[in-house]
């Protein structure tokens, strides 16, 4: 039976080719929506979980800038008093704290857009270790930097910031978030860079002493994260606490509008395609009614005719779905960064299980559409008496 269906499909390459394209379009819309939704969610989850810090305390005035650094790597420079760190450390529920300095670079030698420089105290820092792609088990030496996945340059490549030369010591795995465009350096090196900048750099960098840009916090009990955040905001003046939930919330509104748009596109694609596919199925079956009558005369049961008509539509749907999923997957991978920039959402390729699930549901939905479209002709022509089918309307 499959052989007959296969030959029937190949016999009408243009009509079936267009049907395959229609199914491919439907499948691509459905799959893309799921890919983007999961790709963005996973990116946020990974990025947030990789922060290492449960909370980030930033100056109240610079809350948005801080969020943009983390989410999109939009560089900024801001500070507040380092004494904030001691105050935060005393808050109930806080296990440890570490300081960060945020410095926007000038045009760097690696790239002609500014990148975010983040100075850390390697002894106190507890956030970077989970991110590191290659563990070299040596501490950050003088002028060593750790770069995000999208910074161009191999390990050992020198990069210049504010006239000071650094060496890439390690590279981080992609997170689909701001940290991919960030560069981590020692506090000490940052101050040396700032001191030398009036002579060596195009523009001097002023780094005030006893200032930090953010305080990273690890809480004792993860379940109390929000509570501790509230306590910090209550007890330390002029600060804001960034939590995973408010980072997620910031993204989700953009994400929702994008995925709503894609879901709508998939819905309309289906709405328009389904009647067209159904019409083509009816026309195709009608064209072959005499053939169906002959098949019935030769001994084909109603079930066989039903399966022949439905089977043809389902197989065309499967072929279209596979093409649609594979093609949209290739496009999504190739244009991942472009989509992320244009739509302003973080994006990574979802993990394999999620992908398989998305592909599976897309396939199932597309096959379902193919089956529904062919259901009427399959039922109608299988129920026809053989002679009535052969007569084709004449008496």
């Amino acid at each position: 039976m499959l052989g007959i269906i296969g030959k029937n499909i190949r016999h009408r390459p243009f009509r079936n080719g267009i049907l395959i394209l229609a199914f491919a379009f439907i499948a691509a819309s459905i799959f893309s929506g799921q890919y983007l939704l999961h790709g963005a969610s996973e990116s946020i989850e990974i990025g947030v979980s990789r922060m290492g810090a449960d909370l980030i305390v930033v100056p109240e005035r610079y809350r948005m800038e801080a969020m943009n650094i983390i989410l999109r790597g939009e560089p900024s420079t801001f500070f507040f008093d380092a004494s904030v760190m001691d105050q935060v450390a005393l808050v109930e529920g806080v296990e440890k704290v570490a300081p960060n300095l945020y410095i926007a670079s000038l045009d760097a030698s690696c790239c002609d857009v500014p990148v975010q420089l983040i100075a850390i105290e390697p002894e106190r820092d507890f956030t970077l270790k989970p991110w590191l792609a290659q563990s070299q088990n040596r501490p950050l030496e003088k002028d060593d930097i750790i770069v995000g996945s999208r910074i161009v340059g191999d390990i050992g490549t020198p990069l210049q910031f504010y006239g000071h030369t650094f060496n890439i010591a390690q590279r981080m795995e992609p997170a689909g978030m701001g940290v991919d465009c960030s560069i981590f350096m020692n506090f000490d090196d940052a101050f040396v860079m700032a001191d030398e900048s009036p002579e060596k750099a195009v523009q001097a960098l002023l780094l005030p002493e006893e200032k930090v840009s953010a305080v990273l916090v690890k809480v004792k009990d993860v379940r109390e994260t929000e509570t501790v955040a509230a306590r910090i905001e209550a007890s330390v003046p002029k600060v804001r606490v960034l939590t995973p939930s408010n980072l997620l919330g910031r993204i989700s509104s953009q994400l929702t509008s994008t995925t709503n748009f894609l879901d709508l596109a998939a819905f309309f694609a289906t709405l328009i395609s389904l009647p067209l596919i159904a019409l083509v199925s009816i026309m195709a079956a009608n064209e072959r009614r005499r053939e169906i009558g002959v098949l019935r005369a030769l001994g084909a049961t109603r079930g066989i005719i039903f399966r022949l008509i439905l089977g043809e539509s389902v197989i065309i749907a499967v072929i279209g779905a596979v093409i649609g999923v594979v093609f949209s997957w290739c496009v999504l991978i190739l244009f991942q960064n472009y989509i992320s920039v244009v739509v302003q959402i973080p994006l990574i390729m979802p993990n394999l299980t999620t992908l398989a699930w998305a592909a599976g549901t897309t396939l199932a939905l597309t096959i379902g559409i193919g089956g529904i479209a062919a259901l009427y002709p399959a039922i109608h022509y299988s129920r026809m008496e053989p002679y009535d089918a052969m007569r084709s309307g004449d008496l």
Partner: protein
């Protein structure tokens, strides 16, 4: 073999009623070769299709080998057709995507039987179609199409053959060959009911009937 009583078939076209069969009684013994002739539109094709169970009569009964067609389910009729009957229609009715041999094997394929490729080739050889075994219907002449349809009819060794104008598109020589083929089958015991417009073929038949306005009349033979 075939027993039909009071066969009636009525088609309604709006207010108009058409009676291609108007109360027909018909009996055919095993091994007979019955020829049915008559004017166009006299109901011959409808009659043949009713006998074959391809359409059910509005009234009356049909029994094939003692089994009442109207009492069977559609599935049972299909099985009966594929086991016992062979059909040759006015049009060739071949499937365009399949080759000649695939078309001939179709009844066996539909029954899920093991492919009878050797038998198919023998039948095609008998009908002079062996060189065209892998050709597609759009590559065959009218006569070749008809002969392929006849070969398809024979693949399941039917004991009862219904043929609707099997020699219509054939030249006289091929017509003769085909009729001799049917004659040979008849001699081996196959029951044949054939519709034809060619009175000259009556010499092959054991009985000739004439269809006139929905009624069957025995002709002198």
């Amino acid at each position: 073999m075939i027993e039909a009583r009071g066969l009636m078939k009525i088609y309604r076209n709006g207010q108009e009623e058409i009676h291609p069969l108007d109360g027909i009684d018909f009996t055919c013994e095993k091994g007979e070769f019955v020829l049915v002739t008559g004017r166009s539109g006299s109901g011959k094709t409808t009659f043949l299709n009713v006998l074959g169970g391809l359409t059910l009569p509005t009234a009356g009964s049909v029994k094939i080998a003692g089994r009442d067609l109207l009492a069977l389910t559609d599935h049972e009729r299909c099985v009966l057709r594929s086991e016992m009957m062979g059909f040759v229609f006015q049009f060739p009715g071949l499937m365009a995507p399949l080759t000649v041999i695939e078309n001939v094997l179709l009844p066996a394929t539909l029954m899920g039987k093991v492919k009878k490729e050797v038998e198919a080739r023998e039948i095609l050889d008998q009908l002079g179609l062996l060189p065209k075994v892998d050709a597609y219907p759009n590559q065959l002449s009218g006569g070749e199409l008809k002969r392929t349809a006849i070969a398809r009819c024979l693949i399941n060794n039917p004991s009862l053959i219904f043929a609707d104008e099997p020699t219509a598109d054939l030249d006289s020589r091929t017509e003769r060959e085909v009729m001799e083929l049917f004659h040979g089958l008849h001699e081996k015991g196959t029951t044949i009911v054939m519709i034809t417009h060619t009175p000259e073929l009556s010499s092959f038949a054991t009985r000739v009937l004439v269809m006139d306005e929905g009624k069957l009349v025995e002709s002198s033979h």
